[in-house]
């Protein structure tokens, strides 16, 4: 069973906080508040932008009420102390009782939810866990429960976003937002409860202000791993995901070869033929042919990368299924071999690969 909040082992912060007043002001403008996590990812434009999107995700096809439930159980399943604590606090601020939240965490079948909502939460846990990754039947079950196919695609997107952001939290060992967690049950929490519908509308309008036009399938397919994004055509999240993938592969902090290989390792760990095929095609364009690809992925070693980057291949495998203590210790050891910006990018790529490969279940 998934860990409860206070059972999660949590290391000291792994990457430094980098104050960036302009970025923090932008986060406040778009989210209504800045967060500890904003300062950890601030040095990388593609990463900070996608993190901000993940934490301000707005649904257009799936029921809005489910986002907060899904965010909390996904964060719990991924054992992200940081996100789980924040999402739990948000549920309290939104007026859900401690008893209800407790049931969501422990015994979902006892919570006051309808069958379709329970099916969604089971899907959150199943996709986040991915042992094995959910098959098409689970998606079909959600459609049978009454959700539209586009809503189900958006649910998978939401879970993939949280699988991404939860790993940012875990791999940076982002310090918990004790202020928000503490305030949620107090007077401030009650005040926030009163104004939360207004804040939500403000955040949504500001998010719409930064969203690009919805990408069509052809546009999405052109980005790295674009084929994985095609089922998201018509959803605003698709263009955000596309820009994150393009930004990640264009960023110079790590070589594009190691990034493609990290995606390949995550794909093989989760037994995803779609993402592995995308990795092969991408890496072929970077000069890594089929034979070399197979050798590198089979041995998790690539002499052409050098020891610092090569160590990321074994490490990224450990980011797929993990216990927080060991994976944070491993992350600290691996990052010690890399310049700070490269280390942060490695965390971003590992997180993005985990989100992307889970999202690829939409192609099954």
């Amino acid at each position: 069973m998934a860990m409860l909040l206070n059972d999660i082992a949590w290391d000291e912060q792994i990457v430094p906080a980098v104050p960036d007043p302009a970025w923090e002001a932008e986060a406040r403008r778009r989210r209504g508040m800045s967060a500890v996590g904003d300062r950890l990812v601030a040095p990388l434009p593609w990463l900070r932008e996608f993190c901000l999107y993940a934490t301000t995700f707005q649904a257009t096809a799936m029921p809005v009420r489910l986002i907060n439930f899904g965010a909390m159980v996904t964060s719990q399943e991924n054992a992200c102390r940081y996100c789980y604590g924040v999402q739990r606090a948000f549920l309290k601020i939104l007026g859900y009782s401690e008893d209800f939240i407790d049931k969501l965490e422990r015994e979902m079948h006892l919570a006051e939810l309808d069958d379709a909502e329970r099916a969604f939460l089971r899907f959150c846990r199943s996709l986040a866990r991915s042992r094995p990754r959910p098959a098409r039947a689970e998606r079909d079950a959600l459609v049978a429960a009454g959700y539209s196919p586009l809503a189900v695609n958006e649910m998978a997107l939401m879970i993939a976003l949280f699988c991404f952001y939860n790993r940012i939290g875990v791999l940076t060992a982002c310090p918990p937002e004790k202020g928000i967690e503490g305030a949620a049950g107090g007077v401030l929490g009650r005040v926030l409860r009163l104004v939360s519908p207004l804040l939500r509308r403000v955040a949504a309008s500001r998010q719409r202000g930064v969203a690009t036009a919805d990408d069509d399938a052809a546009t999405l397919a052109q980005s790295p791993f674009g084929r994985i994004l095609v089922p998201l055509a018509g959803l605003p999240g698709a263009s955000h995901f596309r820009r994150a993938l393009e930004g990640a592969f264009a960023s110079p902090a790590l070589s594009r070869e190691v990034k493609g290989l990290m995606f390949a390792v995550v794909a093989r760990t989760l037994d995803c033929s779609h993402c592995e095929a995308e990795s092969r095609a991408l890496l072929d364009g970077f000069g890594i042919g089929a034979d070399e690809f197979e050798t590198i992925v089979a041995t998790l070693d690539a002499p052409r990368l050098g020891p610092g980057e090569a160590s990321l291949l074994s490490w990224v495998r450990d980011t797929v299924h993990y216990q927080t203590g060991p994976v944070q210790a491993h992350t600290r050891a691996v990052l010690a071999q890399l310049p700070p910006q490269a280390g942060l990018e490695a965390i971003g790529i590992a997180s993005l690969a985990n989100g992307t490969v889970r999202l690829a279940m939409l192609l099954e």
Binding site: R131, R268, L300, P326
Partner: protein
């Protein structure tokens, strides 16, 4: 009829309804508390169970039992056995012998878990670890060999701590083989457990037995060796006849892995 005439009766009825509601609410509260207590106990039991079986396996076993229909899958098996521990037991106080053995298992379990393996069985001073049994693992042979090398290092550290307590050093033999086995819940009733069965299990056990004959601590089969890359230093051993096999089998002693390469 005037209001005052039926008011007492109405008040009595109202009081009865209120009492019934109060009683039912109290009863419901007590049932919820019992349910919550039952849930807590089940959670505790599940957490205890998770000490022995991976957490997601526990979840799946406690959910849909049909999800555990037996299936064939490729698995890598690691057998480890302590050398001369039975004789040692005869000389040591039983509590000390058990303490030494439990310390040994704790070190081995940690080394195996670090490399994506699960200890499936403890038999006396021996253990069976599986790689790729519970979930697809494309690197299972490599993981098993790295786990064995990690076990070798862990045993050396453990022996240092035993020496400080003036206790004898331990020696082990490890055999590793891979192949297709049947995986599922084996046994019946309270004696059932998740496990694997098939000829590769026997071969792995025989290979572990060969470590005595060749006086080495770690042997792997040809099927495992071909999946190791050049960083692993291996030495071919002479073909050896083993029980249940018509032809002698070839094994390889794994001496180590290149230090410079980041393999863990």
């Amino acid at each position: 009829m005037r209001l005052v005439d039926w008011l007492p009766a109405a008040l009595c009825a109202l009081a009865a309804v209120a009492a019934a509601a109060w009683w039912m609410r109290r009863r419901e509260g007590r049932l919820w508390r019992l349910l919550a207590e039952g849930n807590r106990k089940l959670e505790d039991l599940q957490r205890q169970f998770e000490r022995f079986v991976p957490a997601d396996i526990v979840d799946r076993l406690s959910g849909d039992a049909a999800a555990w229909a037996p299936e064939r899958r490729r698995v890598t098996m690691l057998f480890a056995d302590l050398r001369g521990f039975t004789a040692l037991c005869d000389r040591l106080d039983p509590a000390v012998a058990v303490d030494i053995l439990n310390g040994y298992f704790a070190h081995m379990d940690a080394a195996i878990a670090r490399h994506h393996g699960h200890v499936n069985e403890l038999v006396g001073d021996g253990l069976l670890a599986l790689f790729g049994a519970f979930e697809a693992n494309a690197w299972q042979e490599r993981d098993a060999v790295l786990a064995a090398l990690d076990m070798r290092a862990a045993l050396a550290r453990y022996n240092e701590s035993l020496a400080k307590r003036s206790l004898p050093a331990l020696k082990f033999g490890v055999g590793i083989h891979c192949g297709e086995v049947v995986a599922g819940v084996l046994g019946a009733g309270v004696l059932s457990k998740f496990g694997v069965t098939g000829d590769p299990i026997n071969v792995a056990s025989r290979i572990e037995g060969l470590t005595r004959d060749f006086a080495v601590d770690l042997l792997v089969s040809e099927d495992v060796r071909i999946r190791l890359d050049a960083r692993f230093r291996v030495r071919e051993m002479p073909p050896a006849a083993v029980k249940g096999k018509a032809r002698p089998i070839v094994t390889f002693h794994v001496e180590g892995v290149a230090d410079a390469a980041p393999v863990a």
